[in-house]
């Protein structure tokens, strides 16, 4: 019943919108989960496109992030989805392509301006078909309050020991919460915790690909150790971190009550606006001095074409533009922290964003370990990783038990070719 009424609402909405559009114009609708970006799309990105492409009007119509997948799937099934579909990376979008709901973009002008690594998140397993134009990636690391660091005479940590000494120093001082992170929303613990520091231990792509190939298991040292490190974090989180939500953590940090925020680069925009202090950032610390550092440089947003779109030609024009240098520069600067993936070198204005981006030169990049291939079944590895990371931080599940549970879950459905 729910599905039916949802479909009916969508149909009604679509009918209303198409009726309202001017007849001579082609109107493109973009489905997205980036509700935060409405203003940027409407004030900067869309006007820039419409200026050079008369006759095409673009509407940006996002859904709340947690509901996006469900709403999008329902709309696509009902045939009422917009012309352009913002693509989640890896399996979620691959499933759409496999269901013929989004189409191949191999022949799109401009698609060759992306490296195969950039396209990997939206390319079939055999590497032959790309079905979304890569828009942006996000990089993980730690953002800190530089004023607090200066006040307490602290400097950016390079190794784990330095990192924990730093946390201890802030805790001893007692005026600030060392680290702003809560577990109630779960994904924070996994995305900003485990996936942030983890690549250092499983050696980035080497470990990830070995896991996908079945040559490593989540119970191996490289995959359990990050949970052990994560467990040590719990001493340095705020009071009541178990019921602290993600917006709570953001507020705690931007109000200057916490010193360090385990982050993704997507925070840069909001923090630059809201924080009244100087911001700094450092990459995930390494085990011992001189080790190679690893960062999670995760392709996050792509844009695909709805297979049933009636404005396919106009939509392809828009997609081509998304692949252009103009878009890359516009987007990276409008949304600092979302780094364009094309080969064009976009010039960035935001200092913090530049810093995050500079780690690409010093460290090895990898993507989130659970995003490709190993989260296709039930139980879902990504979702279970949220749960396990939160449990470890809450102290209700030892790292080894959590790792074993995840591997057992994976073993139930995932049989990699040996």
């Amino acid at each position: 019943m729910r599905k039916l009424s949802l479909a009916a609402t969508c149909l009604a909405a679509a009918a209303f919108c198409s009726g309202a559009a001017r007849a001579e114009d082609t109107t493109l609708t973009i489905e997205s989960w980036r509700t935060d970006d409405i203003a940027i799309w409407q004030d900067k990105i869309i006007p820039a496109f419409e200026k050079t492409h008369p006759g095409i009007t673009v509407r940006f119509s996002p859904t709340a992030p947690t509901e996006y997948n469900a709403a999008l799937n329902a709309k696509l099934d009902a045939g009422s989805a917009g012309d352009l579909i913002t693509c989640r990376p890896f399996d979620a979008s691959l499933a759409l392509y496999d269901k013929h709901q989004i189409v191949s973009l191999n022949d799109l002008p401009g698609i060759d301006d992306f490296s195969s690594v950039a396209k990997a998140a939206w390319t079939t397993d055999d590497g032959k078909t790309t079905f979304c134009v890569p828009m942006a990636s996000v990089i993980h690391g730690f953002i800190y309050n530089a004023d607090i660091f200066a006040e307490l005479g602290l400097s950016e940590p390079k190794t784990n020991d330095e990192f924990f000494k730093l946390l201890e120093a802030i805790k001893t001082d007692g005026r600030y919460v060392p680290m702003a992170l809560g577990t109630v929303d779960q994904w924070e613990a996994a995305t900003m915790g485990y996936q942030n520091i983890g690549p250092t231990y499983w050696k980035g792509e080497d470990g990830r690909l070995a896991l996908v190939a079945g040559k490593q298991k989540l119970t191996d040292e490289g995959w359990v150790e990050p949970y052990r490190v994560l467990k040590r974090w719990s001493d340095y989180l705020g009071d009541g971190y178990k019921a602290q939500t993600y917006p709570d953590s953001q507020n705690l940090f931007t109000l200057g009550r916490a010193a360090i925020f385990p982050a993704g680069s997507w925070e840069i925009g909001l923090f630059s606006q809201q924080a009244q202090f100087k911001l700094g950032a450092f990459p995930p610390p390494v085990a011992s001095a001189g080790d190679t550092c690893y960062i999670s440089d995760h392709p996050d947003i792509g844009l695909g074409l709805n297979a049933t779109s009636k404005n396919a030609e106009a939509a392809r024009t828009f997609l081509s533009w998304v692949a252009s240098e103009e878009f890359a520069t516009l987007y990276s600067n409008a949304l600092p922290g979302f780094f364009a993936l094309s080969k064009h070198q976009a010039k960035l204005d935001n200092e913090l964003a530049k810093k995050f981006l500079s780690w690409r030169n010093d460290c090895q990049s990898t993507i989130r370990s659970t995003y490709a291939i190993v989260s296709r079944g039930t139980p879902n590895l990504e979702n279970e990783t949220w749960n396990a990371s939160a449990n470890v931080l809450n102290g209700v599940e030892p790292p080894e038990t959590a790792a074993k549970r995840l591997q057992d879950g994976l073993d139930r459905w995932y049989k990699p070719a040996k």
């Binding site: 947690t66 705020g238 009071d239």
Partner: protein, 310 residues
């Protein structure tokens, strides 16, 4: 003779059909058919990309395969706890409040009645959000209020702890919906004729014993209805958990109800893709559970309830 024939074969009452038709067709289109389709869907599954009839395989998977069964039984037991807390608190408190409100000596009865009933008409989203703020260990008023009366040590991040999150949510839900049984029972209490109560008073039955011996038996059928509404509402519950704990019903699935489990399965969540067949199976299980509960009530309780006509 012809008039006798007419009496025996009255003309069909078409107007009944005509007047029922709109409601009936809407109800059939929006409730009956989708329900039947859901039940049918639970017997199918996508095998190698094609639709295949699998009989009760989905159900056995849900009940016995550890991948699904762990979540299912966990959600079901949480649902039972949720229901038991409601039954233990919401209805007794509702009855007590109704009894107090029905007391003619109570001043400002209308104000209390409205104040207690208002949360019922609030959206789950508002209630979940407000309570999350109140209970927030960082900015909530709960910790500071407890501190002010010297009970600061009592505070814990209740919504973030496995042992307390479900209870906290149940209490929030009780707070929100206590107005429902209150209003129903209040109406029932008001409908008790004064003669009955006067007669009781003549026999020397007053105060508490009047409530337990005269009023309570008379409002039992209403309490039954309130209970069954609570049961159906609790086993369909979803919104409050979704709003305050997210679709993964944390911490560690301790607040996972059948509703949130259904949502995660049917629509998918984050990287989990939606599985409409298993989703339909869970929905069918919910339907069967509620059907079973309601039927049990109707056969074993409702039939034995005495009704008094005045």
């Amino acid at each position: 003779m012809s008039s006798a024939k007419l009496n025996r074969w009255p003309s069909p009452r078409w107007h009944i059909l005509v007047f029922l038709a709109p409601a009936l067709s809407v109800y059939t289109a929006l409730m009956v058919i989708p329900l039947a389709l859901t039940l049918r869907q639970s017997l199918y599954n996508g095998v190698d990309g094609t639709l295949a009839f699998v009989g009760f395989e989905n159900f056995s998977k849900l009940l016995f395969d550890p991948t699904w069964a762990t979540s299912f039984w966990n959600a079901l037991s949480n649902n039972l706890v949720f229901f038991v807390i409601h039954m233990a608190l919401q209805n007794p408190i509702g009855i007590a409040l109704a009894a107090l409100l029905a007391n003619p000596k109570l001043r400002l009865a209308r104000f209390y009645r409205t104040a207690i009933f208002v949360p019922t008409i609030l959206s789950f989203v508002v209630v979940g959000f407000v309570w999350k703020l109140i209970l927030s260990p960082l900015w909530g008023v709960a910790p500071s209020m407890l501190k002010a009366i010297g009970l600061g040590w009592l505070f814990a991040p209740w919504l973030g702890r496995e042992d307390s999150a479900l209870i906290a949510l149940s209490l929030i839900s009780v707070w929100q919906f206590v107005g429902m049984p209150m209003i129903l029972i209040y109406a029932a209490l008001l409908s008790i004729p004064d003669e009955v109560l006067e007669a009781a008073e003549c026999d020397g039955i007053t105060g508490w014993s009047q409530f337990f011996k005269i009023k309570l038996p008379l409002i039992l059928p209403t309490i039954g209805i309130a209970s069954i509404l609570t049961f159906v509402g609790n086993f369909n519950a979803f919104d409050l958990v979704y709003v305050s704990q997210g679709a993964q019903a944390g911490p560690n699935y301790s607040t996972d109800l059948l509703g949130t489990f259904l949502y995660r399965t049917f629509f998918g969540f984050q990287l989990q893709l939606g599985d409409t067949y298993m989703g339909a199976t869970i929905a069918s299980m919910m339907f069967l559970l509620i059907l079973f509960g309601v039927c049990t009530y109707l056969f074993f309780v409702q039939r034995r309830l005495q009704r008094y006509q005045f």
